[in-house]
């Protein structure tokens, strides 16, 4: 008999999770945001080449088909928004294949919410309020800084204009010369490399930090900024340098969305990754009209790490992957 039947976290952490969940529900009920549920097991999945999904087979002849465990509830929640749900939130599990480490478990808890007619700024404010409340630090204002500013402050490089030579010079001078071989001429990968290894550690000194205005090449499902097409209306929340969530002013243009799916699928093909079918129900929802809204997903296990002052994600999950 091994000790693996026991929870990996201590029992105090279970109580602390329950308290966090109930505080989140209270926060949104007070603001009249509707709690919803959507399927974990879905007939389609996202095309994002950086996310690897779990798939499973449904057997019920003649209706045999492949189903996917969601990598996030985004598409289904947007279908509810398009159907007129109004502002909604959901607490659920999401699954990402091949992600395990100090801050990653292949199955993790997400809080995702959407606010109708909210600007990105309004959503950033609400996110800060929620986090401050959960952490009991309501008098600690969040630091808000643009991606371009923090990137330039730390590295002296312009993240919006790719200059391979100066990026490589920076890498050589700052002990990340591996980036030269790994990233080659891939601007987006350079940004991920430098941000992860050089910029993010600087954010450790700040408690809550919101970085907005991500480069447009990393817009994901956010709209490109109207005034400045080089940036996207997207922000990320960091607490003590740990990435907690991603927020968007949501892309609602169906043609643009379809183009992004196709582009990502092309990228998948080039990289030898499996090409996935576009989620037609989601595209149909956009076609019928997604109201203007901002939305964000927070990683609840990581948030609990901060609340519990834990070192590892596994310290706050009862049965992490190796005990699941």
């Amino acid at each position: 008999m091994t000790e693996n039947w026991k929870p990996a976290c201590d029992l105090q952490s279970l109580r602390s999770r329950a308290k966090m969940l109930s505080a989140i529900r209270h926060f949104f009920h007070q603001r009249s945001v509707l709690e919803v549920e959507t399927p974990l097991l879905c007939s389609a999945t996202g095309t994002d080449p950086q996310l690897d999904f779990f798939s499973s087979f449904y057997h019920c002849t003649p209706d045999n088909r492949e189903m996917f465990l969601q990598t996030s509830p985004e598409f289904a929640m947007k279908r509810l928004l398009a159907a007129g749900s109004g502002s909604i939130f959901q607490i659920c599990k999401a699954f990402r294949n091949g992600e395990a480490g100090r801050f990653h478990n292949p199955e993790f808890s997400i809080l995702e919410w959407y606010r109708i007619d909210y600007t990105l700024k309004q959503l950033m404010d609400e996110t800060a309020e929620l986090i401050a409340e959960l952490l009991g630090r309501s008098d600690d204002p969040a630091a808000i800084i643009s991606y371009a500013d923090i990137f330039e402050q730390v590295t002296g490089l312009d993240p919006l204009v790719f200059n391979q030579k100066s990026y490589a010079e920076y890498a050589k001078k700052n002990a990340i010369e591996d980036a030269i071989l790994v990233c080659k001429d891939d601007h987006s990968m350079w940004l991920d490399f430098i941000f992860s290894f050089k910029v993010q550690p600087v954010l450790e000194s700040k408690f809550i930090c919101m970085v907005y205005g991500y480069p447009a090449i990393q817009s994901s499902l956010a709209r490109v900024n109207k005034q400045n097409p080089a940036i996207a209306d997207r922000f990320e929340v960091f607490i003590k340098g740990i990435e907690i969530g991603n927020g968007f002013f949501e892309l609602s243009n169906v043609n643009e969305q379809e183009k992004r799916f196709e582009k990502e699928n092309q990228f998948r093909q080039v990289k030898g990754l499996r090409v996935v079918d576009k989620d037609q129900k989601f595209l149909d929802a956009l076609r019928s009209g997604l109201p203007d809204c901002s939305g964000i997903a927070l990683g609840l296990d990581r948030l609990l790490m901060v609340i519990d002052d834990a070192e590892l994600l596994n310290d706050v999950i009862a049965f992490p992957f190796d005990r699941a």
Partner: protein, 189 residues
């Protein structure tokens, strides 16, 4: 030779890097929520002993190193080579000074050591965790002092210098932890 993808990386895995066999000490998975994942790896170069850090793009593959650990008995040194034997098969290996340089002070004939082979030739030798060696030289001890406080240096028969309690005398056998180089106890005959 087998190839390993970054998602098979874990402590102890032996891979080839810059034409040298290396052992992974630590593997950290780093991934922005929307973006490229990386593996930052702490690696020991088994040839030079140096520890370096490397970052890989997740999903990348590297060649495995044909490295194997076997148990061998230390036989003798002829001055140029150190000779070892696999007890079961009597197969013999000779290791050069590079392979034994760090551990030669712990080698005692007939002790069972771990030999790391790379492409079937000795790369490094790891002595047993505990060895028993005779004290060849040390200052005369203070009679009656059994506290062990303070201590004094002693040179072993193998040449190793270990800090021992004051009561230890020349000719006595002592037990030493080779991982820390520290005195453990006196060995009763």
């Amino acid at each position: 030779m087998a190839k390993y993808s970054t998602n098979e990386f874990k402590a102890g895995l032996k891979i080839m890097l810059d034409q040298d066999p290396c052992a992974i000490i630590e593997n950290e998975f780093i991934k922005p929520g929307k973006g490229q994942a990386f593996n930052r790896v702490k690696i020991r170069n088994l040839n030079t002993g140096r520890v370096i850090e490397r970052t890989f793009k997740s999903g990348e593959s590297v060649d495995g190193a044909d490295v194997m650990d076997i148990d061998v008995q230390y036989l003798y040194s002829d001055g140029e080579f150190w000779h070892f034997m696999v007890p079961d098969t009597f197969e013999q290996y000779q290791a050069d000074s590079k392979a034994v340089s760090d551990v030669v002070k712990w080698l005692k004939e007939q002790d069972i050591c771990t030999m790391t082979l790379w492409n079937d030739s000795p790369l490094t030798i790891t002595p047993p965790n505990f060895v028993e060696l005779a004290v060849a030289e040390t200052d005369p001890g203070l009679k009656g002092d059994t506290s062990g406080g303070g201590g004094k240096p002693a040179t072993m028969e193998s040449g190793a210098v270990v800090r021992v309690p004051l009561f230890i005398q020349i000719g006595e056998m002592i037990r030493i932890d080779t991982r820390t180089g520290e005195y453990v106890s006196r060995v009763k005959e």
